[in-house]
């Protein structure tokens, strides 16, 4: 029993790792294809059928490029920066429930690596840790532009963590639990949290754009002002690690948003489908639905990137502190009042 449990978790972790890395790799291709479509051109089309092997070619190119470590830089920290960025991007997916319990060879297997009873806070912690990779990398480069990018990343991340946390508090008021598994179970069928927390979702969405450093909030790597931002001095695979971490973060943010607000693996009519297909295929369909939601979010991230121009820095700070935080607090108060009234009725 014990060994079976270990093997099952090991396989699950391996599958989740490889799937999230695969999704991140193909996100780079999707981004260029979508950019091509939005700008009325073809996009990468040479490597493989319709550019299918482009991520592979990009990865190979990254590996074979010369690794340059600038003189006068702190060498250990220079390597630690991208490693940390990649690590924090990978460990967040541990608490996401990827599906209902699935029956494999007469064993009920949970499709979640671990159900921490403070699951949301764990994700929040991992997100807040993500900024260290950028900060350490930017500082260790010993370059003024890198440092500016790192400082911008830090202040942006801290500013947007606050409204993000406040919007989660309003969600907790209506779900009554911190566990990701229970939150997913509560949204059975079409009973999704977006129906109860539309404003909270909007705040969370904007904040996750800021936390993943995506346009319109990609000021840490603003080319027109900072050359390349925090990764100016990076080359080869270390540069690739930073880029990859960004796409992994986008995948994680999409998965979290789908689970918290859009029902995770739940979809209307799932009971009927589960009855029809049995306890092995049914949860797999739920998992497919979750991935569909994730891909829609990833597409949304890219759509926004090629539509909305970058903010100015003071606009970014004003949006965070003067609009999102008061809105999030108002959201908490309104949620509290409504819950009290509903309980009294």
């Amino acid at each position: 029993m014990e060994i079976a449990f270990v093997i099952e978790k090991f396989i699950l972790i391996t599958v989740i790792f490889s799937v999230s890395l695969g999704v991140a790799a193909y996100s780079t291709l999707a981004e260029r294809k979508i950019a091509g479509y939005l700008q009325d051109r073809v996009g990468p089309s040479r490597a493989g059928w319709g550019g299918m092997f482009q991520p592979l070619a990009d990865g190979l190119k990254m590996f074979f490029k010369e690794e340059i470590i600038p003189a006068e830089s702190s060498k250990t920290l220079f390597i630690l920066g991208p490693s940390l960025a990649l690590l924090t991007a990978c460990i967040g997916s541990a608490v996401i429930p990827w599906g209902q319990e699935i029956l494999i060879a007469d064993r009920l297997v949970s499709l979640q690596v671990t159900d921490v009873n403070v699951g949301i806070l764990y994700i929040f912690g991992v997100v807040s840790l993500g900024v260290y990779g950028i900060m350490i990398g930017g500082w260790a480069s010993n370059n003024k532009f890198s440092l500016m990018g790192a400082v911008r990343a830090a202040s942006q991340s801290i500013s947007y963590e606050i409204p993000m946390g406040l919007s989660i508090i309003a969600l907790l008021l209506s779900t009554n639990t911190l566990s990701m598994k229970e939150i997913a179970e509560q949204q059975h069928g079409a009973n999704w949290n977006i129906l109860y927390q539309p404003l909270g979702f909007l705040i969370f969405l904007v904040c996750s754009f800021a936390e993943t450093n995506r346009t319109p909030f990609d000021l840490p790597e603003c080319e027109t002002e900072l050359v390349g931002g925090y990764h100016t001095e990076y080359s080869g695979f270390k540069m690739g690690a930073f880029m990859f971490a960004e796409y992994l973060n986008m995948f994680l943010a999409s998965a979290v948003m789908s689970t918290l607000y859009f029902g995770g693996y739940n979809y209307p009519g799932m009971d009927w489908v589960n009855d029809m297909t049995g306890p092995t295929i049914g949860p797999l369909i739920g998992m497919g639905v979750l991935f569909l939601k994730i891909f829609v979010f990833i597409f949304f991230f890219m759509w926004v990137r090629w539509t909305v121009p970058r903010f100015r820095y003071d606009q970014l700070m004003n949006l965070g502190w003067k609009i999102l935080i008061p809105l999030a607090i108002a959201n908490i108060v309104i949620t509290g009042i409504v819950i009290t009234i509903v309980d009294k009725l």
Binding site: N117, M135, A154
Partner: protein, 167 residues
């Protein structure tokens, strides 16, 4: 198993805490301090206090230390720019440190070793129980400390605002 794990983590905590003091570069010090806080988080997990662990993780590692790092990076201090301290200051530091050691040793000697504490309920540190205790038994201290934090926040905003008007 649990005891040896505790001693290993405790060793790591003290080791990294010492590195905080002994490293010459302030940025390295802050990074070691972050690792120290991480080992403290593991201690909380070992005590089955998940909520406290994750709050320590988010607040200390994720927020406060980022601010520390932020300020240090802006100042960009390093070894050769550190002002050389005079012999007098070093002497005063040694004497003050020795006084602290004497006080600590004395107080440790005066203390009695308490009986090992056995938790009545193993899940005391979970969010639900912690919240119930905070909002019933310890309501007054909890609210007072929140007022204290609020006043500190208002004070900080006030200080920052006054500077802008003068300039």
């Amino acid at each position: 198993m649990s005891i040896s794990l505790f001693y290993f983590i405790a060793f790591l905590s003290i080791f990294f805490a010492l590195l905080v003091i002994f490293s010459k570069n302030p940025v390295h010090s802050v990074l070691y301090l972050i690792v120290t806080f991480f080992t403290l988080t593991i201690h909380y997990v070992l005590l089955n206090a998940q909520f406290l662990a994750i709050v320590n993780f988010i607040v200390y590692m994720g927020a406060i230390m980022v601010l520390f790092l932020f300020v240090l990076m802006l100042l960009n201090l390093n070894e050769n720019r550190e002002a050389s301290k005079s012999t007098l200051i070093k002497m005063i530091g040694v004497i003050a440190g020795m006084c602290l050691i004497v006080t600590l040793v004395g107080s440790v000697k005066a203390l009695h070793v308490s009986d090992p504490l056995i938790l009545k309920t193993q899940d005391l540190g979970l969010v639900k129980n912690l919240g119930k205790v905070l909002f019933s038994k310890f309501l007054l201290p909890f609210e007072l400390s929140s007022l204290l934090l609020l006043s500190a926040m208002v004070g900080a905003v006030l200080l920052a605002k006054r500077d802008i008007k003068k300039a």
